[in-house]
């Protein structure tokens, strides 16, 4: 006969008390386990969310950076090369240069292997009266992009009238294109760099001889469409493209081949602007850097910055990155606050639950001891000492606590899993299924139950059997 046999049989005999005690221990350990699991899950979920956000931000920033790189490749830091004697006040007032310079400047610049410029777009533009249609337009003659080489300059595309049949029907270099509007640029040409001109495609094509590209207001008001023929300054042109509405002076612009423009404007071999795109400047004084190099190649010119959206977009990218970092920090802080709230809640609820369960186990033990008063008295008459009676009550409580612990541990994990069925919870549960936690949980219940049953056990041990036996 062992004490364990007696305890287990008694537990079965007083099953209601045993089951309620067991459920109480289960609840206590389950509450503790679930709280730990949920807190751990929250922490893991936070880590996962933050990591995901960081990845997302990194990806977005990388995409943004790539976009910016592409955009800035297409747009770059744009400058306009004007004749040196051009009055800038007049230029800004009229929006085109009244002075001209040799067209050869463009080819010279391209042949110079200029390092700070990627794309060279010579043009001749002038406000003219379209007498046949009785309206004023901006006429721009373009010859397309001049590839930058260190050798003999050649046109990179079909700008020449003789090759117009193979000219791609790309958009002419409009101001919008010059300022980097990707819709008007050739995206396929955005990867060129100084020094690799032989490989790169022209950024902007020309307009074939005899063809014309019409701005929105022109083709709309004149009811012209692609393929229509019209006369401009006594010369016949065919509409090769009708531009969509831009809301800028492009809408009243008419683009033709440079050579034809030179003839119409009586400016043979002359141009009045060279648009340079994608300036590669390492220093902060970008304009100065370009000016210095251009001045060495074309002394009779002046350089002005045309537009620089690249900088603005780079700044936007920086801000986006900063906002991404701030968003992650805010998310982390929010999650930390939430976790702290949960910890505070758990710190209040779990001890309360343990206390309530402990008190309940104590009361149930007390009830058990009272029910067994005569039995304990008999055991005393049979020779069991105080220690044995103490052991009898406390081992009983420990057995209940042990079974309750094991069930509570499993139940707590299950409840937590049901509460938050997330991948993080699966990890949290696996992390809790370690020997350390198993031992901790296994000991928690018995310790709680033994502590709760201590007073009833003392009472049982100190009970005077003679009183009970005398009373029968």
């Amino acid at each position: 006969m062992r004490l364990s046999v007696l305890i287990l049989n008694e537990l079965r005999h007083r099953w209601l008390n045993s089951v309620v005690s067991l459920m109480t221990a289960l609840l206590a350990v389950g509450c503790l386990t679930a709280a730990v699991a949920l807190l751990r899950e929250h922490r893991l979920a936070t880590d996962a969310i933050i990591a995901s956000k960081e990845d997302e931000t990194r990806t977005r920033l990388a995409t943004l950076a790539d976009d910016m790189r592409k955009i800035t490749k297409r747009m770059g830091f744009n400058i306009l090369i004007l004749p040196k004697d051009q009055n800038l006040g007049d230029f800004y007032a009229e929006d085109f240069a009244q002075k001209t310079m040799p067209e050869e400047y463009g080819t010279r610049l391209a042949a110079s292997g200029v390092a700070t410029i990627n794309h060279i777009l010579p043009s001749l533009q002038q406000r003219v009266r379209w007498t046949e249609r009785e309206r004023t337009i901006l006429l721009i003659g373009v010859r397309g992009e001049l590839p930058i080489t260190s050798g003999t300059p050649t046109t990179a595309n079909t700008s020449d009238a003789t090759t117009s049949t193979t000219a791609p029907s790309k958009l002419p270099p409009t101001p919008a294109a010059k300022t980097g509007d990707s819709k008007t640029g050739d995206s396929k040409t955005g990867d060129s760099k100084a020094g690799d001109s032989k490989a790169k495609k022209p950024l902007l094509p020309s307009v074939p001889t005899g063809k014309a590209v019409l701005g929105y207001d022109l083709h709309r008001s004149l009811k012209l469409k692609v393929g229509d023929r019209f006369i401009l300054l006594e010369r016949t042109f065919t509409v090769s493209e009708c531009r969509p509405e831009k809301g800028t002076k492009d809408d009243i612009t008419l683009w033709i081949n440079l050579s034809e423009a030179q003839e119409l404007l009586n400016q043979p071999g002359r141009i009045n602007a060279i648009l340079a795109l994608e300036c590669n400047c390492a220093s902060t004084d970008r304009l100065g850097e370009v000016r210095a190099e251009v001045a060495r190649i074309l002394p009779d010119t002046q350089v002005i910055e045309y537009e620089s959206q690249a900088l603005a977009r780079a700044e936007a990218r920086n801000r986006a990155e900063a906002e991404g970092v701030a968003a992650i920090a805010a998310e982390r802080q929010q999650r930390s606050q939430l976790e702290a709230e949960k910890e505070r809640f758990a710190a209040a609820v779990v001890p309360l639950a343990l206390l309530v369960c402990g008190v309940l186990i104590g009361l149930l033990s007390w009830q058990n001891v009272r029910e067994r008063a005569v039995e304990i008295a008999i055991l005393r008459t049979l020779g069991l000492g105080t220690g044995s009676i103490l052991a009898l009550v406390l081992f009983r409580a420990a057995a209940i606590g042990l079974i309750g612990s094991l069930l509570g541990f499993a139940g707590g994990l299950l409840a937590a899993n049901l509460w938050a069925a997330t991948p993080a919870m699966s990890i949290a549960v696996r992390e809790l299924l370690t020997p350390t936690w198993l031992v901790t949980a296994t000991l928690a219940g018995p310790l709680l139950a033994v502590a709760a049953a201590w007073l009833p056990a003392l009472a049982a041990a100190q009970q005077d059997p003679a009183n009970l036996l005398r009373e029968g």
Partner: protein
């Protein structure tokens, strides 16, 4: 001398003041004797048994089990002396309801060598006609069987003294005879029995009879019925 109570006095304090129960009682229980104490309900018979068993400290007097004064010992030693040397049998049997017969007989083994006592438990069950009831719980037993289980439990550790409080009080004549025969056998084997009883049949088995009256023991001269042979009824 197996058990010697010397000048035992005990007074209980109740709502109506002090109630003297035992007054300078001296009693010797030699080995091989059965001492019967009769008396009215509330005369102090059970109190005397509890004092004799080391369960209730007397106000005055000593109780010696062999050479050891029970109440001069600490609780642990007294419990050990009781476990090893004194057996108890009660009118209400006081079996543990959740243990079967085998385990009930083995309850005193909680304080001893359980493995060594197991064969003796089975032997006692055999002697008391309980072999076929070993796996049954008390609720499934007759009253006679229950008392025989209680008696077997009391005798498991081969005590020198058996204290029996109305052991036949709840038994029919046949079962009472069986229990009393076992008490006889115990005494004949060298044990000492102190029997508190109302039952004249039980008193008839005693070698010495006393009457407890107003806290004092008097020789019991009342006539007792002839002792009858009993047979074990399973």
């Amino acid at each position: 001398m197996t058990l010697h109570l010397r000048a035992i006095s005990k007074t209980f304090t109740g709502p109506r003041g002090a109630v003297p129960v035992l007054d300078q009682i001296t009693l010797e229980l030699p080995a091989g004797s059965i001492s019967a104490i009769r008396g009215a309900s509330g005369s102090g018979k059970t109190t005397l048994l509890l004092i004799a068993g080391g369960l209730l400290r007397p106000d005055q007097g000593t109780v010696h089990l062999g050479d050891e004064d029970l109440y001069a010992q600490g609780p642990a030693r007294r419990a050990a002396l009781r476990a090893a040397g004194i057996g108890f049998v009660f009118q209400q049997f006081h079996l543990l309801p959740y243990l079967n017969v085998r385990d009930n007989i083995l309850v005193p083994a909680l304080t001893g060598d359980a493995a060594a006592l197991r064969p003796r438990a089975l032997d006692l069950a055999e002697r008391f006609g309980l072999s076929h009831r070993l796996d049954h719980r008390p609720a499934a037993l007759s009253t006679g069987e229950r008392q025989r289980v209680a008696l077997a439990r009391a005798l498991l550790r081969q005590p020198r003294v058996l204290l029996a409080d109305e052991p036949t009080g709840n038994l029919d004549q046949e079962n009472a005879a069986v229990v009393l025969r076992h008490l006889d056998e115990f005494a004949q084997a060298g044990g000492a029995v102190l029997l508190a009883t109302h039952d004249p049949r039980a008193a008839a088995h005693a070698t010495r009879r006393w009457r407890l009256d107003h806290g004092q023991l008097h020789p019991d001269a009342a006539p007792v019925p002839a002792v009858q042979q009993a047979t074990v009824t399973p």
